[in-house]
Symmetry: C2
Subunit: 185 residues, 2 copies
Amino acid sequence: MNGRRASQDAQHGLNNTAASLLGFLHERPMTGWDLVAAAQQLMGDFWSITRSQVYRELSAMAASGLVEELERGKRDRRPYAITDAGRQAFAAWSAVVPAEEAVRFPLLLMLTLGRHVAREHLVAAVEHHRALHEERLAEYEDHVQGTGDPYAVATLNFGIHYERAVLAWFDDLPDEITTGGTPRE
Amino acid sequence: MNGRRASQDAQHGLNNTAASLLGFLHERPMTGWDLVAAAQQLMGDFWSITRSQVYRELSAMAASGLVEELERGKRDRRPYAITDAGRQAFAAWSAVVPAEEAVRFPLLLMLTLGRHVAREHLVAAVEHHRALHEERLAEYEDHVQGTGDPYAVATLNFGIHYERAVLAWFDDLPDEITTGGTPRE
DNA sequence: CGCGGACAGTCCACAGTGGAATGTTGCTGC
DNA sequence: GCAGCAACATTCCACTGTGGACTGTCCGCG
């Protein structure tokens, strides 16, 4: 009713964060803490939800009846269960084709502005990121072993394809960028 | 001075949007409008800056002396030039390794929650996105012809590797997801 | 002339991020 | 049995980023 900071009363439907929470709550009641952990666990690097956002959405959804608060547990632990209205809202959300992905890659920004950045910094940044992506690829390849759920495997596979692409791109980068090839302009 | 909505007075340095504006302003004075266009043109799908944000940052940076307003042009056109302080701030920004990229892919979210989504919606969403990525790949491959600047080429190449990876991932998706393979659970 | 479309900026609500602050509980070593 | 530390759990806040509505100006064209 009060309307502040709500996850949309009606009309446009849920935002993605709210929808993801409802999705997880289909399995069982969970607290904000659990939900953050679940999301991090399942979609890690290609989706993100933050504590602040989660608690915000949970109280908004409780206020508008999409979830209901169960009794408090140990350390102020506050589990929520999805309601029928919540299941409906989720179904409505799931019926519309999701938006395009957003990729924000600061390294690419730096590269685009590369003309105005000292070569050494460019090189350092590229090296750093290459190492990061090598690690992540290894991790994904590791995790995908021993994962049964086909939906989870699909996500992991996205990570693997993605990291390989990034690595291949690094290898394609011209020498002018990755080493002290031509000096400046 | 007033401090509201500033792009950081000191200490943490610039945010990425402010930094990108300063980067572009190294070339020549530009208006907010021009800057949005330039960013869209050069980094399109892998970086984004919005009008609101740009004008916000420009006035903040004007207030803190990183840019200066030149005289108004035709339709309230308000060009800004970078100052020495601005060049310094940019140099400081460029010396630190950029953060990791953030990928937010709502389709992946839907897939992860796939157990609770009607098959038909999953299929429709996947089809839709596959088509999108095919288009984008074609665009990038087109654009990369006739692009001279190696930094711009690097960005375009990222796009090409990325889109190919996404497409390959789509091809790897199991039948249970892409067609009405096994019915539900 | 007049009017439609590209140009240019403002404003606002919402969504998402990240860190500080606060308190609780369970465990481990003594 | 208790001191202290790590993990659990929530709250709050400032900042960053997104998208749409709204206003106005100027250019070209019929």
